[in-house]
């Protein structure tokens, strides 16, 4: 028999941490990796400096006409002068304040959420906001001039389409996911048929159907706003994908959770909404945000049914005879705007994941 003394913790040996160690471990750990690292650096060197030179060093930022763009670099004057078009499309200039108020209110609402605890109040405020935003953008109420949807465009249209698509497809997707997971055969098969049908059809087809084929079935003289039709199409399309993602989340919940919820006496809807869905959504966050990012990018397809979103604005503004051939600047700018929105959403999803992680100590 033996009894051992308790051992004290020691400092880790030198050379196992620090930047030199990190470089050695991650970039130069073997001859192959060293070669790849050097090739990678060379590649970046051949791409980044010329781009910076074009976009910044040699670029023109000032002035108000093409004549000022004398350098070899980008002519950001174009973007600056056409900013209103990129942002608001053909929205009447004297009414743009309404959109700006809407954005201001949105920032205010989000900021106020930091101080509000009650979820019910938050939902109320959010619903109120959607109503106010709709009135502000669309007009026709409270003495605001009605702006028809064919005047909407640019980033504003992109955001309207994406936001409505996301907000409306979410609850529909949840219901369909519940339906697909339910034991009732008719509800289940209806939901499966819906999902499989929508997923078998490209978004472009659905947009064409909603804008061209659908009106053929309406009675003569009955018109339906083109944007509204596109929104319905996109929402129904997205709902199928949201449903499948949430179904994946639902499947990750153990049967014990259902049984425990049953055993404490919750009804079906209480069980699903209070116990199962919160856990399923937590699992589904990364995929859901991924789907919403794709949706934001897919909104550019509305161009084909004659709606002019942010991307479409590049072609329209560069067709101006004063600014012919400015597509490059336009596309780079639009790329940056899309990237900023998508990156923001992706960061937000990471924040949500952390927030809902209840496994940490």
């Amino acid at each position: 028999m033996a009894i051992y003394q308790e051992k004290q913790a020691r400092v880790a040996p030198s050379g196992s941490k620090g930047i030199v160690h990190w470089l050695k471990d991650n970039l130069f750990s073997s001859p192959t990796n060293t070669v790849l690292t050097i090739l990678g650096i060379l590649f970046l060197y051949s791409i980044i400096p010329p781009f910076v030179q074009w976009a910044y060093t040699d670029a023109t930022f000032t002035g108000d006409s093409r004549a000022q763009c004398t350098g070899d670099g980008a002519c950001w004057t174009f973007v600056k002068m056409k900013m209103d078009m990129f942002m608001y499309g053909f929205y009447p200039e004297d009414q743009v304040w309404r959109l700006q108020t809407g954005i201001g209110l949105f920032i205010f609402v989000i900021a106020s959420f930091k101080f509000l605890k009650s979820t019910k109040l938050k939902i109320l405020i959010l619903n109120l906001y959607f109503f106010i935003a709709f009135v502000l953008v669309n007009g026709g109420l409270f003495g605001l001039e009605h702006i028809p949807t064919d005047k909407w465009g640019g980033l504003m249209l992109t955001i309207v389409v994406a936001a409505v698509g996301i907000v409306c497809s979410f609850p529909i997707g949840i219901i369909i996911a519940f339906g697909r997971a339910s034991n009732l055969p008719i509800i289940k098969s209806v939901c499966i048929t819906y999902v499989e049908f929508i997923r078998g059809v490209p978004l472009i087809t659905i947009l064409f159907m909603s804008s061209i084929i659908l009106p053929l079935f309406f009675p003569e003289g009955m018109t339906f706003d083109k944007l509204l039709r596109a929104l319905i199409g996109i929402t129904l399309f997205q709902a199928a994908y949201v449903a499948e993602i949430i179904r994946g989340g639902l499947q990750s919940i153990s049967s014990g959770q259902y049984e425990a919820a049953d055993a404490i006496g919750l009804s079906y809807w209480q069980k699903m909404l209070l116990v199962i869905l919160p856990q399923a959504l937590k699992v589904a966050i990364p995929n859901l945000v991924g789907a919403f990012i794709s949706l934001l990018q897919d909104t550019t397809l509305v161009l084909i049914i004659g709606l002019f979103d942010l991307l479409a604005m590049v072609r329209i503004t560069a067709a101006d005879s004063n600014w012919l051939g400015m597509e490059t600047e336009g596309y780079v700018f639009v790329t940056f705007v899309f990237w900023a929105f998508c990156y923001g959403m992706s960061r937000y999803s990471q924040k949500l994941e952390k927030q809902f992680d209840t496994n940490l100590n």
Binding site: S254, Q257, A260, A263, I264, G265, S267, T358, N361
Partner: protein
């Protein structure tokens, strides 16, 4: 009142597909009685107690709990589940809710209690099981034994007349078994009706009024703990006791 049956199971038969999992189960449980059910795995003991609060449906026979017929009827099932609580092998706490919210969920949503009252009740029961200081933590931050005690407190919150335990200590590390059994012994001494599926024979000897041995979907033998362990009659029970008590 003393001898009234709170649970009456008559000719209960259940099949999973073609597999006959429960065969003619007859069992009456008196108010305040402590029943321990044991038997080899696959003998149908869990399935039987899960039928009592209708987590499992059955094809033949009848179960009456506290005057409520256990049948496929939303209202009856609802009042049944307000009366019968269940503690699971794997605790089945809700990982997205704090300990306190786990306990108050059902009182707030099912019994429509004000949040303040529900929280007070929850804290009272957490105190009883000795984890009031963990009320704001999440289930996964607790040890298995603590989680199971929370699960017991959760089931107590609706002040049930009948408590079902489905192998409450089988998923626990050995050093945590006794903390859970201590709580269960206390409950037993309070006079609540309990049916425990467990292999903790010490617990059975200490508190059970009757011990039931099930095998292959049947009740093979039932007796007082003393007789059950000292004078087992059937060969299957003798073999079973040999196997679990030989170490």
């Amino acid at each position: 009142m003393e001898n009234e049956n709170i649970i009456e199971i008559k000719n209960l038969n259940k099949w999973y597909g073609d597999f006959h999992v429960l065969k003619d189960i007859n069992l009456n449980v008196k108010k305040g009685e402590i029943i321990v059910v044991c038997g080899p795995s696959g003998s149908g003991k869990s399935t039987m107690i899960r039928c009592i609060n209708y987590l499992e449906q059955f094809q033949e026979g009848s179960i009456v709990v506290d005057g409520i017929d256990v049948v496929d009827d939303v209202k009856k099932i609802k009042s049944l589940r307000e009366d019968v609580a269940m503690v699971f092998q794997h605790f089945n706490l809700f990982p997205h809710l704090s300990i306190k919210d786990n306990l108050t969920l059902s009182p707030i949503w099912v019994k429509k209690q004000p949040k303040k009252d529900a929280t007070a009740t929850a804290m009272k029961y957490l105190e009883r099981v000795g984890i009031a200081d963990q009320a704001d933590k999440y289930p996964n931050q607790l040890s298995g034994g603590q989680q199971q005690r929370v699960a017991i407190a959760r089931s107590l919150c609706k002040n049930p007349n009948v408590m079902l335990f489905d192998e409450p200590t089988s998923a626990l590390d050995p050093e945590m078994v006794s903390e859970v059994l201590d709580v269960m012994v206390e409950l037993a001494q309070e006079g609540r009706t309990m049916i425990c599926v467990t292999h903790e024979m010490g617990f059975a000897k200490k508190v059970a009024d009757r011990v039931i041995f099930m095998d292959a979907g049947q009740i093979v033998e039932e007796n007082t703990p003393n007789e059950f362990f000292e004078n087992p009659e059937s060969d299957r029970l003798k073999l079973f006791l040999d196997q679990i008590l030989s170490h």
